[in-house]
Amino acid sequence: MTLLAIFERPAIDWHAFAPEVVLLCALLLVLLLDIIFDERARQIIPTVAGAGLLGALLPVVTLAVDGQDRFMFDGAFAVDDAALVLKALFLISGYVVVLLSIDYIRDGDYYENEYYTLLMSSLLGMLMIASSRDLVSMFVALELLSIPAYMLAAWRKGGPTSNEAGIKYYLMGVFASAVMLYGMSLLYGVAGSTRFVDIGVAVSGSDASPFVVLAILFVVVGFAFKVSAVPFHSWAPDTYEGAPTPITAFLAVASKAAGFVALLQLVFVAFAGRSDVIEPLFWILAALTMTVGNLIALRQENIVRMLAYSGVAQGGFMLVPFAVSGDAGDTAITAIVTYLIIYAFMNLGAFGVVMAVARKTRSGQISSYGGLFSYAPGLAVAMTVFLASLAGIPPLGGWFAKFVVIQSLFDAASVSSAILGVIFAVNTVIAFGYYARVLREMWFSPVPDGDSTPIKVPAAIATALVLTAVATVVSGVLPQLVGRFGDISTSLAL
């Protein structure tokens, strides 16, 4: 009885919570529509889901306009500029994934309603992870975004590869969570608090206590699985290949971004004082991830696997600024967030083209892209835009993403950052090798089976492609539009 008397409901700022609340309502609405109308609701479910995601974007905008940093639950849940930028990124990526899903899921006769419900729950977890500034809320958010994703990966129940995808992803994910949780418990033991700010104070004071180092290592390794950093990447290609393609896009972009967002908060807030541990750790992770990802990508014959490994390598590029987190500080945060935003658009776009082409060729082989330019010039040009952007060729968005990463390395101006810069530059050139292979097939090669009937692109995918292509080009021509968001995200470190 006494316990109940002590408990007081903490003050809740509903405005700060509004994005999550709107998304939750939309999610429940989808669930209810399914229960009440059953099959008859199928037509409108994707629309409701999409509208829910865009609806949740509204309070994000009002919060941004309001501009006030809000903290709740003793600082465990924060709404600052950084959180808002990332929430908007998750919602927009989620919306594009919904657009990509509509025809795929409908044609495949998969469980539509449940699909969108799970997708939205996962996104809800992502919204929360952008705001969590404490170990418990971060872990809960992480599980909320991961568990639906495990199921979604296995959505093509009939196909053994999809089952393999789901199981592999699940086992690896759970293992990573366990490792991470162990690290978190050590952190709590050292700091006596779960808030990142307190942990930051506690760990930076401690001299090289093995517990702290071990704790940091475990937590980082846990997230390294999530962002598929080498050597914790082995699940990614199989999962990507087996999962339904829209979910692959979702995992490669949104889910990976969530991992990076968590790392951002941990590295720049909780472990800010321990760059002596963080920097070498991420240096190795980044160098390995870029190089191994790229080298294996060179050998892929299947476009989705190629994009999977390219995604691993791109993740490596995003890990680079972490390796100079102590020396470069704000520049590093700007670089990571800017890269995340641009990467989301170009990668989602590339998957969009893959899906559109697969509707005709029914194949994932890179060779099936032969002569695409001759019978589907629009798709070929779009794919060229996305791949050239991934390769970092101006004036497409990717160049700016790579530029800010190099800038953070220069800002750090140390020998180790210079070496990492060289590895980065070499990898950029290697990466062009496999992107160029697809370009070559599309533009230079003849149509493999001589079947050059044009591809009919469904309206939803077309919308997604236009959206992502415009974003990719505009972010390259007017990088300030994206760079601004990267810049204000440095509020995180405050």
Partner: protein
């Protein structure tokens, strides 16, 4: 000193009108081939018209200063601004690039190479136009870099889709070489950004502003500057191309469709040499002095190597490509002297080479169209079968070998002369040796060019083509070629037309070198 009114828009229009044309063409269905040609023509002519407006309103008494300047915020996060402007150094190259694009469109009217698709082909030409024009007017390093890179993909596709037998290899080689160079170049730009102190020039501490950097970069120590210069040297040198990075050029030129070769020779190669004079030397004059003997050496090696390469070629286009290596060697030699005289010669050499080699590639393309081969051994008797084309070829080879009275002479001769008296900080002995070697190069040039002309144009047509009807120059070819021919003659007879424009800017740059060497 920002431009106002229409002047503020003029350069942006010059840069983006071709791109607007390309975007319009993207929404026009592929089947409307004539319409595509019209739109491409209109867009490139519109850009040229604005270019002529600029040419008329340019203040020639102040050609050493940037005019039509626009300075707007662009990427605040990295302090990069949208700064464009034009001075006596940029003007001739901009006009060259503006003129070449519509002429290439005219030539393409009846010469869309296999596998056809004028829509895509012309769109690529227009995008190339935007990239080239933009490079010549950018006054911000990042803006320059973006425009410099824009040309990569269109040229890659142009070679790869419309090129010859071995096009894929040539396309990827072109791409990777250039990409590698630009990666190092952007590193140098970043180093400048962080190391230079912009407050000296009255701007922010870290800046990409090319107007401020010559002053701002004085704080960089020479050792560091030499490294930074090295990065730019790779970026620009590969583009030029300088020996030993030239190997992409013969492949790219030989495999590229005619118009691709023309644009490549006439404008793209100049992006590299322009970069040296516009960026590398004024910003890091001290390092330029250290590098100059080395650059001069590579330049003369290029001259001799290119000439010897020419003598060994059996393919007409490949021969012209190797002659480009030699000619760009003269341009680089002029630049390496670091004197106003040498750099004037270099700019002249760029324009002259653009006109002459562009012309040669046009003729080569038309010969290929008619004979379906460029194998020199199988050709012959062009003067009999198509006398007008034969004489144009003769005219262009004469111009190329540096016959006085034609444009080529004023690029080569002053460059050689400048090597006699290089900048004070440079060793006279070294450069006089280079001078002698370069002079030998001109003799070789006369040799390979006359030999080419003799084998293709003189004599009787070879048996296999003797009975084939070979068309002489057709009207669209006349339209595309006559401005080139006219330019070669006018500049050859009255070179001061160009020298008077470039001189002021170049003198300023040479003074920076003198100041750096003295201080």
């Amino acid at each position: 000193m920002q431009a106002t009114g229409f002047d503020a828009w003029a350069l942006s229009l010059v840069v983006f009108l071709p791109l607007i044309g390309a975007i319009v063409m993207m929404v026009i269905p592929k089947a409307e081939e004539e319409l595509h040609k019209m739109v491409a023509m209109a867009a490139s002519l519109a850009a040229l018209a604005v270019g002529i407006y600029v040419l008329i309103n340019f203040d020639y008494d102040a050609s050493g200063e940037l005019q039509f300047v626009v300075d707007k915020s662009w990427i605040d996060v990295i302090n990069s601004r949208y700064i464009i402007g034009l001075d006596g150094l940029s003007l001739p190259l901009l006009v060259l690039s503006l003129a070449v694009v519509p002429l290439c469109v005219i030539y393409s009217w009846h010469h869309i190479p296999e596998p056809g698709n004028p829509k895509a082909f012309l769109i690529l030409i227009l995008i190339l136009g935007t990239g080239m024009n933009g490079t010549f007017v950018s006054q911000d390093l990042i803006l320059f870099f973006v425009f410099f890179e824009i040309v990569l993909l269109p040229m890659y596709f142009m070679i790869g889709v419309w090129g010859g037998e071995n096009r894929q290899y040539a396309a990827i080689k072109f791409f990777l070489f250039t990409l590698f160079g630009s990666a190092l170049m952007i590193l140098s730009f970043l180093a400048l950004f962080f190391l230079a102190d912009g407050t000296l020039a009255g701007t922010t501490a870290n800046t990409f502003d090319m107007r401020a950097l010559p002053t701002a970069a004085t704080v960089i120590s020479t050792t560091t500057a030499v490294w930074i210069f090295g990065g730019m040297f790779m970026g620009f040198g590969i583009k030029v191309p300088m020996f030993p990075f030239h190997t992409w050029l013969p492949d790219a030129h030989t495999q590229a469709p005619t118009v691709g070769s023309v644009i490549l020779a006439a404008v793209l190669l100049k992006l590299g040499t322009y970069g040296f004079i516009r960026i590398a030397i004024p910003i890091l004059p001290g390092a330029a002095v250290e590098w100059a003997p080395f650059i001069g050496l590579l330049a003369v090696i290029g001259i001799i190597y290119g000439a010897l390469g020419c003598l060994a070629q059996t393919d007409m286009k490949r021969l012209i490509a190797f002659s480009s290596v030699a000619h760009m060697g003269f341009v680089m030699l002029g630049i390496a002297t670091l004197t106003d005289f040498g750099m004037n010669a270099a700019v002249f050499g760029m324009v002259a080479h653009g006109l002459i080699t562009g012309m040669l590639f046009f003729v080569a393309g038309s010969v290929k169209d008619r004979y379906h081969t460029l194998e020199i051994a199988r050709l012959g008797g062009l003067l009999k079968q198509a006398p007008k084309m034969g004489w144009i070829l003769g005219f262009a080879t004469m111009a190329s070998l540096g016959l006085p009275g034609l444009a080529g002479f004023w690029g080569e001769f002053p460059a050689i002369l400048a090597a006699y008296q290089p900048a004070d900080a440079l060793s006279e002995e070294t450069f006089r040796t280079y001078m002698v070697i370069a002079a030998v190069g001109t003799v070789l040039a006369a040799g390979y060019l006359l030999w080419l002309f003799q084998r293709t144009a003189f004599g009787e047509p070879s048996d296999e083509f003797a009975d084939e009807p070979i068309d002489d120059v057709i009207p669209t070819e006349w339209m595309a070629w006559s401005p080139f021919l006219l330019g070669i003659v006018v500049l050859g007879v009255y070179p001061n037309l160009l020298f008077s424009i470039t001189d002021d800017t170049v003198v300023n740059i040479a003074e920076l070198v003198t100041a750096a060497a003295g201080g």
